[in-house]
C-alpha cells in the first residue's frame, strides 16, 4: 500500500509521552500542556471582539480590519474565508501580535478569557509558539536553511521549556515528526531543510507549531503553495494532529474546497469585516449573504448543471476609502438605497447559529438558493 503518510495510531506514543512531560510541569499550570479533548468542542479559547487594524501609509489610512468578532472554541476548526485584502490574515497576525509597529490596533483579543492585546513584548513572546502557534503559506522558506530540522523543532520546545535537556527535546522532536507522518523520524530529524520536499517541510512546520500543544493553531493558507495531492495529505495530517492534541485550528484560506473539507464553522470576511458566519454545511447549502452567494456561484460544483460559472462583478473596494454602508453594495445584485449609507451593517443572528451582515437576509432565507 502507498499509504505512507498516515501517522501511527498514536494512542501508544501519545499516552507514553504525555505523562513524562506533564510530570515535569508544575501541576495546575494549564499553560504548559493542556489536556486534549478528543472529538469534543469545548469552551471558548480565543475571543476576538471589535478588532480594528489600520495602517498609516503615504496615501492615507488603510483600514485593513474594521470591526471583527471571532470566537474559537476548544478543539474546533474555524475557517476564515475571504479574497485577498479582506483582512483575514491581518486579523490573525493581530492575534499573534506580529503586526508591524506602524499598525494601529483597537478592540480586544482574549485567550482563555485573558486579554492578550497590549501585552508587553516579553509576555507576548511567551504565548506565541506555546499557546498560540501559526503555520505559514510557503513551507519552502519557512524553515531556516542552516539548521537541522530536528534542532529547529527542539529549539521550539526549549524556548518555552528551558528546563528540558537537549536529549529530551531531541526525542520530543522525533516524536513530533512521527506524529505528522514523516517516516524514519530519527534520521529525518538530523537532516537539513533542503533535503525535505515541500510537503515534508510543511509537515515539519506543523510539527514545530504543535510542539508545545497550543490552544490555538492558526494556519494561514498552509496548502496554497503545495500541489493538490500533497495538499490533501497535509489537510489529513492537520486533522490527525487536531484529534491527538485537541488544539483549535483557525484555517485561513480563499479556497472554499479546503474549507469544506476542514472546517466545522466558517467566518466569511469582506473588506475587513465579517459578513456571514455559521456552520460549514449550512453556509454551503444556503448562504445568507450576497457575497457568499457570489463566491459559491463562482466555484465549480460537480453535479450542478450550471452552464457558466458566475464571477462576482466589479473589484474589491480600496481599503483607503471603503464605501459607506455595506462595503459590498457596489457589487451586490440586491443593493438598495439602504445599503449605501450609514455604518457598515453588523453581523446579526438571522437564524439559529447563523449570522449575516446583510440587511435583507430575510429575503435570502425565503429564496431557497440551493434548489436553483
Amino acid at each position: 500500500m502507498t499509504e505512507v503518510t498516515r501517522p501511527q495510531p498514536l494512542a501508544s506514543t501519545a499516552a507514553a509521552m504525555r505523562p513524562s512531560w506533564s510530570a515535569d510541569v508544575a501541576p495546575g499550570s494549564g499553560a504548559a500542556f493542556n489536556h486534549p479533548m478528543p472529538g469534543g468542542v469545548g469552551e471558548v479559547v480565543l475571543e476576538v471582539s471589535d478588532l480594528a487594524v489600520q495602517f498609516r501609509t503615504e496615501e492615507g489610512l488603510v483600514q485593513a480590519v474594521r470591526g471583527v468578532d471571532i470566537e474559537v472554541r476548544a478543539g474546533e476548526t474555524l475557517g476564515i474565508v475571504g479574497e485577498s485584502g479582506s483582512g483575514k490574515s491581518v486579523t490573525m497576525l493581530a492575534v499573534m501580535g506580529l503586526l508591524p509597529r506602524t499598525a494601529k490596533i483597537s478592540g480586544s483579543i482574549r485567550l482563555r478569557g485573558a486579554e492578550i492585546m497590549g501585552m508587553s513584548a516579553k509576555e507576548a513572546r511567551s504565548i506565541r509558539g506555546s499557546r498560540i502557534a501559526m503555520i505559514f503559506q510557503d513551507p519552502l522558506t519557512a524553515l531556516n536553511p542552516c539548521h537541522r530540522v530536528g534542532d529547529q523543532i527542539a529549539e521550539m520546545v526549549q524556548a518555552h521549556h528551558p528546563q528540558f535537556s537537549d536529549r529530551v527535546v531531541a526525542g520530543r522532536a522525533a516524536e513530533l515528526l512521527e506524529l505528522v507522518g514523516i517516516p524514519q523520524p530519527g534520521l529525518r530529524a538530523r537532516q537539513y531543510p533542503h533535503e525535505f520536499s515541500g510537503g515534508m517541510r510543511q509537515r515539519a512546520m506543523i510539527a514545530m507549531a504543535i510542539a508545545n500543544d497550543p490552544d490555538v493553531l492558526i494556519a494561514d493558507e498552509p496548502t496554497t503553495a503545495l500541489d493538490v495531492t500533497i495538499q490533501a495529505q497535509i489537510l489529513e495530517v492537520m486533522r490527525t494532529v487536531q484529534e491527538q492534541i485537541g488544539t483549535a485550528i483557525v484555517f485561513i484560506t480563499h479556497d472554499l474546497g479546503v474549507i469544506a473539507r476542514m472546517a466545522s464553522r466558517v467566518h466569511v470576511m469582506y473588506a475587513g469585516r465579517g459578513v456571514e458566519m455559521g456552520s460549514v454545511l449550512e453556509i454551503f447549502a444556503n448562504p445568507l449573504h450576497p457575497y457568499t452567494r457570489g463566491l459559491l456561484s463562482s466555484l465549480p460544483r460537480p453535479g450542478l448543471h450550471t452552464e457558466r460559472l458566475v464571477p462576482i462583478a466589479g473589484t474589491p473596494p480600496s481599503m483607503l476609502h471603503p464605501p459607506a454602508g455595506c462595503a459590498f453594495h457596489p457589487r451586490c445584485p440586491m443593493a438598495r438605497d439602504a445599503c449605501t449609507t450609514g455604518d457598515p451593517p453588523a453581523l446579526v443572528a438571522v437564524q439559529d447559529a447563523r449570522f449575516s451582515a446583510c440587511l435583507f437576509a430575510d429575503e435570502l432565507i425565503a429564496d431557497t438558493w440551493a434548489q436553483r
Binding site: T2, G129, A142, P183, E195
Partner: protein, 307 residues
Amino acid sequence: MAVAQGLTAKPLSPSLLAWRRFRRHRLAMVSGVVLLLIGLFVFVPSLLTNFDQNQRDTAAVRYDGPSWAHPFGTDDLKADVLARVLQGGQVSLKVGMAVALISVVIGALIGAIAGYRGGWIDSAMMRVTDLFLAIPLLVILIVLTRLPERHDWAETVLGSKGSIRLIVTLLALFFWMQTARIVRGVILSLKEKEFVEAARALGASDTRILLRHLLPNCVGPIVVNLTLSIAAAIITESALSFLGFGVQSATQATWGNLLSAAKGQLESHPHMVLAPGIAIVLTVLCVNYLGDGLRDALDPKQQRTRA
C-alpha cells in the same frame, strides 16, 4: 512502507556540501596548501634556518648575496635575511589574522543590528560607517600611531608605540566598514524571509532571531570578507612599517620594515627587496584566491566575478 526503506544516504550538511564545492576550485586548493606551508615555515623558522632574526653572523659579509649558509643573503648588520623574512612574517600573519577577526566581528555586529532594526538606528550606524570610509586610511593611521607617545591614556587603550597590539587595534578600527555594509545588505534581504516570521510566530526573541537565524545565514559573505580583510590588513601593515610607523625594526623585523631597510639597496643588492616582496605578494595572492574559492563554495548562487 516502501518509501521508508528508500532513505539510506547520510545527511549532507551544508558545510560538507561547501567543502565538496571548495575542493573543485583548484586554484583555491593550491593557495590553501601554499598558505599552510607559509604559515608552517613562518611560525617554525628552524625548519629552514638556524639563525635568529637579530643574530649577527660574524663569519659573513654585509649585503652578501645568496649562498648555502644564507639562502637569501645577509643585510647591513650581517643578519640572515631568510630568518628576518620568516620571523617578520609572524608579525604580518598575526596582524592580518587578528585585524581580520576583530574587524569582522565588529562589522558583522554593526551590520546585523543596523539591518535588523532598520529605521533611525540603521541610518545612524550607516552614516558613521560612511564617515569611517571617507577617512584616508594611511593618513589617519600615521596620525594615530603617534598618539601613545604623547598621551598615557592612548598607551593604555591602544598599546605602546611600535607594538603589535597598537597596529592591530588601529587597523581593526578602520577595517570593519566593508563587512558591516555587506552583512547589513544580507540581513535586510534575509529578514523578509518567512522563516524569520515563522520563528517570531513561534516565540523567538529578537536576539535569538538575530544570533541563531540571521547571522548563521550570513556565514558565507562573512568568511569571504574575513579572508579579503586578512589580505588587506597584511598590505596595510606592510605599508605602515615601510613608512616607519609600524612595528620597530630594531627589535622585530616585519615584511614592511624589511622592505623599508632595503629601499636604498634596490640597485646594488636587489635580493634584499625580493625576499620580503615575494613573501608579501605570494601571501596576499594566496589569501585572495582562497577567499575566491570560499565564496564559490559558500555562495554557489553568486556569479564567479569579483567586485
